[in-house]
Amino acid sequence: MAYTNLELAFVLLLLGAVLSGPMRSWRSAGWTAAVFVGLSTVLAWSDGLKALLGRETVRAFIVPLPTFGSELAVSLDPLGGGFVMLITGVSLLATIYSIGYMGSYRHESPRRFYSLLQLFIAGMIGVVSVADWLFFIVFWELMTLASYFLVTFERGDPKAVRAGFKYFIMTHVATAGLLVTAVVLWRSTGSFAFEAHKSGLALMTVSFRSLLLALYLLAFATKAGIFPMGDWLPDAHPAAPSGVSAILSGVMIKLGAYGVLRVFWGMLPDIGTRGEVMTWGAVIVFLGTLSAFVGGLAAMKENDSKRLLAFSSISQTGYIFLALGIGIAFAKSDTLSSLALLGLLGAGFHILNDAIYKSLLFMNAGSILYSTGTRDLNKVGGLASVMPLVAAAGLVGVASLSGLPPTNGFASKWLIYQSSISGGLHFAPFVAVAVVAFFVSLSTLAYSLKYFDTAFLGKPAAETRRPVPVPGTMTLAQGVLALACIAIGLAPVWAVNVIASVFGALPAETFKVGRVGGLAAIPAGGAVPALWSPVTLFGAFLLCFFIAEMIRRCGRASVRTVPGWYGGEEHADDEVRFRAQGVYSPFNEAFAKVYPHVPIPRLPSLGKLKSVFNLDSWLYGPLLRGGGKMVDKVSRSHVGVPQLYMIWQVAGMIIVLALLFVLIR
């Protein structure tokens, strides 16, 4: 039987896990892992490209489980292909990054890192390359398990351990829902195959189907870190080693979006469910908007670099779900096909971009941690002079995170706004979504600038140790990602074409591709006309830059370096350093006053928002405490006196008799 390269890649990863397992030295283990991940990346890309560009499904059959109506088989359709390429690409860079980064864990043993890392990658690849719920769940769990051990890599740190535990349990509770749906549909169809379950869903009553879909959504939204369910994210991502955080935030949480696509885009019955699909789309949009908003505001208040980025992950995943929902909402309508495509394109493109710049930024924050030993933005500053390249990469990262043209972040946000506004023409609430999205993107700008300014600009901080330069591998990984940001930003057309093929559509239905790679939305199929021609505009921008520089220089002013002016007094650098916590403090206080006055939407203040966001305090905490009380009561019934236990025996005996009489008579 013919092996696909993907299987080969998978096997290679397992092999790498085995080989790099016993190694004692960080370097050798790291390079081994990097080599194996690199090889499997090449292989995976070969298959992914085949699936993506060929718009075909790479299939290979491995092991049958006929009695479960299930089979382990590679089935890589364009969607899976795209994700496989994303996963392997980011993971490879993260692995290379880790070679340098993990140098700060000399005291730990590399065994617990690289093997798990490769298992983690393998799990993710498995998730996106099967078309069978049973094995989907198996790989999903493998992924969760490996990532759990990676998150708790600093097992000496109780906070990390707690965070990992929270992550593990929350995702597992969600996955149980997945298991339930799988078993239910297996029962009604006798198979675990995606296709079979699609037909199974079609046969069910609306209410029951809605129940199952809700379970699906719960599972995937939890993994994706969508606001109410994704509460594990801001704890777990900072806790993990930065390379892992990059993968977690970069690709793993995107698999939640993958699942939503699989189910709500791929598995909903085609006929007679338009209203239903619309409803689910709206639900997803709502969830997305909510967590985009909450995540953005929470990030603005955060002073811990990695936590800030984690919240921003929540916010950006919110964007993805937002667009996803719009795409799904109109997916089944015949007239608004290209509007649906617009939404899906926006989501897909934003998945790609967020994967790139979010992993870049986590690596960036990791470099700060590596160099200064702290994640607290109050304790760092002026790092640009220590690591200029990292700073440059960080600048590109924050630029595209906040969607400044001409980076890739702008291109996808452009699509998202366009889809939400044109969606608003057909389903009014989506317009409000557009406004919120704009506001969130401004808050994104706010917190990303806060991150960049306080960390890299300004005066060096006195609190922390002298920053050490970061290894080349770390810089390399970030450089590659930064270049990717700009390249995709300048030529979004290519990306859009590829992503359109993921959804089996032709972009030409929606876009007129301009002479120089511009995108012009055609007013057809529900999309409104819009235009984004990056090359032209960037050309114009360069021209203007030239002019502006001319103006600036025309005076031939002489240059002199002087100390900063602090109202005429002399100050040491640290005294006049503007700390991160001060950045938006007026704003944050103001929020508390402002928002209650806003008639619509009536939002809690930032402070309250934090407490709303902190689900432990009002949801999980009481739940656990209540459960604990219950458990305690039950356990108190075991008083240890033998007679009591025997009374149970006899009572049980009598009950058994009675019940059996009832049952059998």
Binding site: S635, R636, S637, H638, V639, G640, V641, P642, Q643, M646, I647, V650
Partner: protein, 221 residues
Amino acid sequence: MTGISPQLVHTLSLLMILTSFAAVEARNLRHSTIAYLAQALLICGLLLAYATLNEALYYWAATALVTKAVLVPWFLWRATADAEQETKPLIGFGISAVLIIALLAVMYKFTHAHAGLFVNATGELAALAETNLAVAFTVFALGVYAILTRRDAIKTVIGLCLLENGVHLSLVSLAPTIKETALAGIATEVVVTVYLLLYIIGGIREKFGTTDTFKLSELRW
């Protein structure tokens, strides 16, 4: 198919109730031991009575004599060497007397009502079986009752013996005519367990200084 005297069996089995009542209620462990001894002898008598139908039962009678009537009482006697008075039970004499009478009545009615369902003998054997089953259930119930309401570990052991007697009585009266019954009866002698329990109780007495089972509640929740 005769040679077995119904009256004898009736009397013996009804006497068993009295003995077990005594064994449960006697405050002095040695007295209840003696009561148990008496009951053991009664069982042997019953076995002998049935043995006229099935000589295999003679072997059982013999072993029963050794285990029930000799070994177990002896163990109990040794175990109660230094503490003859049992610790105060949960339920006093009067109530338990009433309970036991009620129990007997219920069991009697029940078995006479439903015994036919699982007594497959005929004629007087059936009648015997019904009486015996009633008695057996009562004794069984008494054993359970003793185990539940008596705080003294040794008393619970006696209760256990009563349980076993009840089972044996039902065994012999349900399938008196089959050879294997004897084998079954012999195999299910509980004497080893009793010895082991008393051994452990000895240990408990030396560690805890008492045989009050309510004190045995350090391992809980």
